[in-house]
Symmetry: C2
């Protein structure tokens, strides 16, 4: 039986099983979901055992547990380590969802739910591709699974876990589906990821909230001060003003940039899809370059004072912001965090106090496009999509990927099947059934070609 | 029986009655408290009847009801119209309160509760001063009460109410206790109030929240844009940059500023009380001038993106701010609102859409210090505090005061008994028993001297 036939036969069960996973609200950012993390991990353990793993277990870490599973055929065969995560982003703001975020719904041939793509849907494809290969005796190599529960909060326990279980996790390639592709008819392979340095800033003015009439104009307002400091972080050319921020950035050559520019991209469609009149970014770079090869800075959240209905004439005591910077190869997240902190300390007026906190981060990653893994992935996509995939530098980050290379000594191949319209991290996250089933279909070919070329 | 004896005899009951009023959470900013507004109005009606009013009623308006009461002795006597409000500010952030905001507690001879001062405590003093004068036959003139329920949200129904009941509300002076005094041993009379123009700004970027990695750097982030626009509203000299903002400001003469500078003010104590290292404000003006005679701009609230625990790598679709401007005499709140809107529209980048909303406002007010009412108040304070009160320009706003003059044709005298440390509009609002009882004691003398001088 080929993979297409296997999918056709089992698709209803596949969706049932995925929906069971999605219904567990495993939001790693919130401590109230601690028990849901364990439930999601146990669910994955069972998925792997049912799919044909020799063994699978839920392994404790300092944070949320890691699910490990394996099927070892022979020491003489290559080994693929599948990495994914069972945790999801918070679903707020709830009021913008058209459906319940943790109750998956299929509408217009699309699965709608938090985690439908990132990364419950995409990681699940690997469990089913694995199941197919085991049940039909098509598995050409050893397989290991490592599914973690802290990816959306910086994978803080995973480096220690990898160091501790280096031997167990040994592999020839790490295979990950946690990225996207250009379009349903334009397959692509992510050849680069940005790094991340995620900060929180707290500005304190007077020790208590004040009446904005009686004190306004004479006492520094931390909300005004923080707004000004955020505003000054990026200049009119879109450059980040933090001293030393660009010091370690490696510029791409004109030839590399020209190659990048060949990837299909339609700015008008892009703007239309986002309902914006004009794009915005660093001067001298295209939209694709701005997200692919340039570091950036974004406010992810800010809050201060009275945010309820109506009015309150308050001069708030405190103002906060969550600010993250996407980094490019060679930039160090902790060094950037220190520069960020120094900048805020240096430019804060004496009338307020400022503290910053480094919440999490990770290095950028670039994948070589001439490796066996890349070539195997290229052949797999070509087989199932009928056209050659395009290498793309993604703006997103999977900070743990560079850690894998350092700690486990293995490269990663990023076979992402998501679309930009999947709204990951946003309300109404979704994953088209086409992409879901195409992923399950493509993955076994990767194993096939990778094992063949490795011989 | 003199007023001091009367207070001594009835103080426990006074506090009981005040606490009953405070326990009604009449927060006008929140529609969920609609019924509490009616309960607080009914409570005031009963207070006035019990105190000796000939009649009192809860009168409907387009918004929250107004309590009207009166005792008319003779058409030949002057009439005092007491104005106050039964609504209070929201109590958020609740976690910063040491006690329950709507369960008053007396500790260290201070009443702790939302509304203890503003304006349940202060308005209540008038009910009890009135009660004393009626019960002991010391009332020297006619009295009217008008207690509204929308002062903290801009008194939006009161102008229409006043227009409609002009004859009923006719008076020789409007008497208000909704301001402060310099210190317990430094009585003062508020001779000026700032106006207010309270705006809400909404900035929209992409039509949905985006993944900050995949889109960050290429799509305008409305939180960054709003922060920048807020930051640019005030320049490095503390000047507001909105075009035309200062056009109608009347500068004070050097002589007037020198007179103001004579009011006692200790900058070191001020900074210590607020726990700030340095004050901040418009260049060329003292702290007292910055709040007393200069217009200012403060963020009262701002919010965007993810503000919960942990991290979320989101590029938010929307960012909001509540921004209010305090105005000085001759500045028109609606004109200022229009200038604010024009400024935001002009300077917003094309990559976002901006809308502003005028939430409420009012004109500044200056009270003459040579009027009969001022002289009567001066004598009353001198009688009970043993020293002459100082005229002070307050930074706060009671927007309706200028409306009274325009619609009812009556001046207002502001006999405030609050202290800066009362933390009105803040967590742990409080009102010292000393000030509460001193207010009740002083008010009857105002009636006495005012009636005498009016003869």
């Amino acid at each position: 039986m080929n993979i297409k036939e296997y999918i056709e036969l089992h698709k209803a069960r596949f969706l049932d099983e995925l929906f069971g996973l999605i219904r567990i609200p495993s939001v790693s950012a919130k401590t109230e979901h601690k028990q849901d993390m364990v439930r999601a991990a146990e669910y994955w353990k069972q998925l792997l055992i049912d799919a044909g793993a020799d063994k699978a277990e839920v392994m404790p870490t300092a944070g949320n547990p890691v699910v490990y599973g394996e099927k070892i055929i022979s020491e003489n065969l290559p080994t693929v380590l599948v990495y994914g995560h069972y945790d999801v982003m918070p679903a707020e703001p709830f009021e913008l969802w058209n459906t319940q975020p943790f109750e998956p719904v299929i509408k217009d041939d699309i699965i709608w739910a938090r985690g439908a793509d990132d990364d419950k849907g995409q990681a699940f494809m690997h469990a089913k591709a694995f199941e197919y290969m085991v049940k039909t005796n098509n598995l050409p190599c050893n397989v290991k699974f490592m599914i973690e529960g802290e990816e959306e909060v910086g994978s803080s326990s995973l480096e220690a876990y990898c160091s501790e279980h280096k031997e167990m996790l040994k592999s020839d390639i790490i295979l990950v589906s946690d990225t996207g592709m250009i379009a349903q008819d334009i397959p692509s392979i992510t050849s680069g990821l940005r790094g991340l340095s995620y900060m929180q800033v707290e500005v304190t003015g007077p020790k208590r909230d004040l009446h904005s009439g009686i004190f306004g104009g004479a006492v520094a307002n931390p909300a005004n001060v923080l707004a000004k400091m955020i505003g000054d972080l990026i200049d009119q050319n879109g450059h980040i003003t933090i001293e030393g921020f660009y010091d370690d950035v490696q510029e791409l050559s004109q030839a590399e940039r020209q190659l990048m520019a060949k990837a299909p991209f339609n700015l008008e469609n892009y703007k239309k899809a986002l309902d914006i009149e004009q794009e915005q970014g660093e001067a001298g770079y295209s939209t694709t370059e701005r997200t692919g090869i340039r570091p950036t800075l974004d406010v992810n959240g800010m809050w201060s004072g009275y945010t309820g209905e109506g009015t309150k004439t308050v001069l708030p005591s405190k103002a906060y912001a969550k600010i993250s910077m996407r980094l490019v190869p060679n930039q160090d997240p902790e060094k950037i965090a220190a520069l960020f902190d120094a900048h805020f300390k240096k430019y804060a007026p004496k009338s307020v106090r400022v503290t910053t906190e480094y919440l999490h981060g990770g290095n950028a990653y670039v994948s070589p496009t001439d490796s066996i893994a890349y070539l195997a992935a290229d052949k797999a996509y070509t087989q199932t999509f009928g056209k050659k995939p395009i290498p793309v530098r993604s703006g997103g980050s999977i900070p743990i990927i560079s850690t894998f290379e350092r700690v486990l000594g293995a490269k990663t191949i990023l076979m992402g099947f998501g679309l930009e319209s999947d709204a990951i991290h946003s309300p109404n996250e979704n994953f088209p059934l086409f992409n879901f089933f195409k992923g399950i279909e493509t993955i076994p070919y990767f194993y096939k070609y990778f094992a063949e070329m490795k011989k």
